[in-house]
């Protein structure tokens, strides 16, 4: 047995290095053949963990807006500049407009043309964001789509669907959950999810 070797140090029959990509593929094959790993289940695990922590930058922006009324005013007036104050900017984050969810208005973001996404603040777009069915249906029947996603919006609340484009990337400022008014920015950050920043989820108190 040669467990002391790095995976990188193995050589194939012709003396070439066998890289970790091939060893990984080999291991996945062996584990799958032995019934120890189901590649489909594995895909789900990867997707879940990849984004489990959530988009920290977007969460920091929201937590600051919740705890600092002056920052919130700047954020709603000039999103790009206010987000840049916290040091977040990037090729796809240049024209961010922040819209606030309130007791009477619920904003939800979609990109009907492609899948424009403010990734410097939101991180990786979730798979459903690129799904043509989501894109088409959320415009046509947003209340129903939101409800299917577990985000109930009362009949007395107006839903505004924000269509992202090359010019404007939308970011939703979710409502701060009741009972969290006394929490600090640091305590609020972990509560804020990606889905809430796209407007397909509410944020609940811890």
């Amino acid at each position: 047995m040669s467990t002391a070797l790095n995976p990188d140090e193995h050589l194939d029959g012709s003396g070439n290095r066998i890289g970790p990509a091939l060893r990984t593929e080999a291991l996945e094959q062996l584990l799958t053949e032995r019934g120890l790993v189901d590649p489909n289940v594995m895909d789900k695990f990867i997707a879940t963990y990849e984004t489990a922590v959530g988009p920290l930058n977007g969460a920091k922006v929201v937590a600051k807006a919740w705890t600092d009324p002056e920052y919130k005013a700047r954020l709603l007036a000039e999103g790009t500049a206010a987000i840049k104050e916290l040091g977040f900017a990037g090729p796809q984050g240049e024209h961010i407009v922040v819209v606030e969810n309130t007791d009477s208005v619920h904003n939800v973001v979609v990109c009907t043309l492609c899948s424009c996404y403010p990734w410097p603040v939101l991180g990786l777009p979730p798979a459903w964001y690129k799904d043509p069915a989501y894109r088409a249906r959320v415009v046509r029947e947003p209340r129903k789509v939101l409800s299917e996603m577990g985000c109930e919006v009362g009949d007395d609340v107006e839903i505004i669907v924000r269509d992202s484009s090359a010019e404007v990337r939308w970011l939703v400022l979710p409502q701060q959950p009741a009972g969290t008014e006394g929490l600090s920015e640091e305590e609020l950050i972990p509560l804020i999810t990606r889905d809430a920043l796209v407007g397909v989820a509410h944020i609940s108190a811890p």
């Binding site: 970790p20 593929e25 988009p55």
Partner: protein, 128 residues
């Protein structure tokens, strides 16, 4: 759609925490996410405990820091894969030599075979 409950805290130990950007895991190449997924799936099915895997990972990282080929860049997921191999070999689930043999077979696939493009070092000649 929202984060599932009962997820492992991958960042509990700062010496073995995975690389992240904007809070999310960063996979530089596709195989890294497969290696990641295998460990999490096997842990979930109870093949090993997380502390067991974590100890193997910490040992791998320490060993690399202690000694590595000159000029070799640190790769977190290479250590991760090594740790997974160690744990699986340790209880006889999959032996290191079996992996090497299968990897050799994969490397010997004819040029033009539709394998992933993230492999390097074995001189296959098809371009994309």
């Amino acid at each position: 759609m929202s984060a599932a409950t009962n997820l492992l805290d991958l960042d509990a130990d700062e010496n073995s925490a995975p690389p992240r950007a904007n809070g999310e895991l960063v996979f530089a190449e596709p195989w890294e996410s497969r290696a990641f997924g295998m460990a999490l799936t096997l842990y979930d099915s109870g093949l090993f405990t997380w502390p067991q895997f974590q100890a193997a990972l910490i040992a791998r990282i320490a060993a690399w820091e202690n000694h590595h080929p000159e000029g070799e860049c640190y790769s977190y997921y290479t250590q991760w894969l090594g740790a997974l191999e160690d744990v699986l070999a340790g209880d006889g689930t999959v032996f290191t030599d079996e992996i090497s043999q299968r990897a050799e077979e994969l490397a010997a696939r004819p040029a033009g075979h539709d394998h992933r493009d993230d492999e390097h070092g074995h001189g296959h000649g098809h371009g994309h």
